[in-house]
Amino acid sequence: MPAAPAPGSRLRLTALLAPPLLWLTLAYLGSLAVLLLSAFWATDSFTSDVVHTWNTDNFHELLTTPVYRTIALRTLSIAAAVTVIDALLALPMAFFMARVADRRWRRPLVVAVLTPLWAGYLVKAYAWRVMLGEDGVVAAALAPFGLHGPGYGTTAVVIVLAYLWLPYMILPVYAALERLPERTLEASADLGAGAWRTLRSVVLPAVRPAVLAGSVFTFSLSLGDYLTVQIVGGKTQLLGNVIAAQVTLDLPMAAALSAVPVVLIVCYLAAVRRAGALDSL
């Protein structure tokens, strides 16, 4: 760190950028590198101590043990389901906020969508645990129709995760819809298109990058989540739980396991980037 004020702009720029770059390199990329490195170590099965011997046994075990594959697939499916559900919920909600609601209601509606993000994650998850319980409001509401609540399990995990990440999908879609000029929609109707056709040919293509951008959040946040599963997941196991459980027992195995969501997210980002959604983030 230069102690005296830098005379040149290059020095000033260096001083300005050094701390964040240092933080990014050390705290983020560094820990990621250490994580990946440790995946190639082993664990003493008696003492649970990490043994620094290079090997690929962890990855071998990861790829050959059926239960890991099942869990990885389940995690992936849940993340995909959450993303699809959030997209389906966010589109009409954002459309209402941006296009249907009176202009002066827009800001309060955005605030209403944002407010849950300021509440604690655990509070929300436990609130859902109460609601989804045997005597919870969900079961009570479904009882008159002769239906049972989903109880704790995979369905509950999907519901709660979809609820938790919904604002991350609504906001970009809302922004895209609000930017869409009224004239463009009128032009579509003017040229003979009905509401459905306009939605399909004009509105959806316009919000597609925003949906993809939102899906980066819903997908990656779902892949990495492990608390919701513990709270409402019942016996369901996801990658996050398994990693959390292995951290104390077998750190190298946990590291190898956590490479799975990292790889999945990198693949997903690459796919989304190709679709051009990252430009609008």
Partner: protein, 366 residues
Amino acid sequence: MAQTETSSRTRTTTTAAAVRLEAVTKDFGAVRAVDAVDLTVHEGEFFSLLGPSGSGKTTLLRLVAGFERPTGGRIELAGHDVTAMPPNRRDVHTVFQDYALFPHMSVEQNVAYALTVRGVRKAERLARARDALTTVRLDGFASRRPAELSGGQRQRVALARALVDRPAVLLLDEPLGALDLALRQEMQAELKELQRTTGITFLLVTHDQEEALTMSDRLAVVRDGRIEQTGPPVEVYEHPATAFVAGFVGTTNLLRGEAAVRVVGRPGTYSIRPERILLADPAGPADPAGPAAAPAGSPAGGRRTVTGRVTDVVHAGAHTRFTVTLPHGDRLTVHRQNLTGLPESARPGGEIRLSWDERDAFPVPS
């Protein structure tokens, strides 16, 4: 020559009204944007709605397109009541002021949109889209995106998109407003030509009186949600029905009350077009660069002569604008073609004689 042909052609096709408004009113909250307007646009006609901004002319166009529902009254297209019909079921297309092209579609997809919506086969769709692009001289641009085009090119794409399936009526909302002067004049001629060759009824909204005068077969002057006058450009220009029309369509010298008595010699409200006033030296002969003593084909009326002092001279390219102050402080604007033989006193401070045919001071209801 072509212009006189078109105006005579449209006179003959007055059988069906392409657009008919009957006592159409539109309120936005407490504001009345359109006030009991009656309007008939004939088939195959180039009709303009001319008015200042906020006059309600765009609202009128949007009512015809179906983007707005009238508060009262009735709208007919080709004899059918469409008052409650949504825009997508009306046989009219709009060219928007900002073009409103679909940004995620190619030029070709934009142009073919109306056909795509109607389920026209792909091969035919593309062929017709290319035809439309040829009509607006945009061959070779089919695969571009709107963002890659200039303003004038986007304008043409919007035109092609609206003409591709030959609607009964084409609505144009200030289509040339965003273009620079040279391009605007070029597009004026092209629009006129396009209207003539396609035979489609054009309903144009503009605040530019020159645009309305040069392109239209007929025009309506709109003010405060009402139509002040409807007629062919020559008639509206030569015989404005109201003082507002006289002032808005072209420039004019409006004389009312005492000033009318002093300058015109009669009480009432009168309009004298600046180009109808001749300049001459107080003792000399009439200005040879002014119009002939009387317009061709009409019997000469008496001439009115006044003298005044030139207080301002502005050279405006093809003509020069003189402001002449008369003894009682009344001011007259005079336009003179920039020909030779300018009277010697036609300079600031010069004493000058003005004269005009008495019929050129026409009475307007105030």
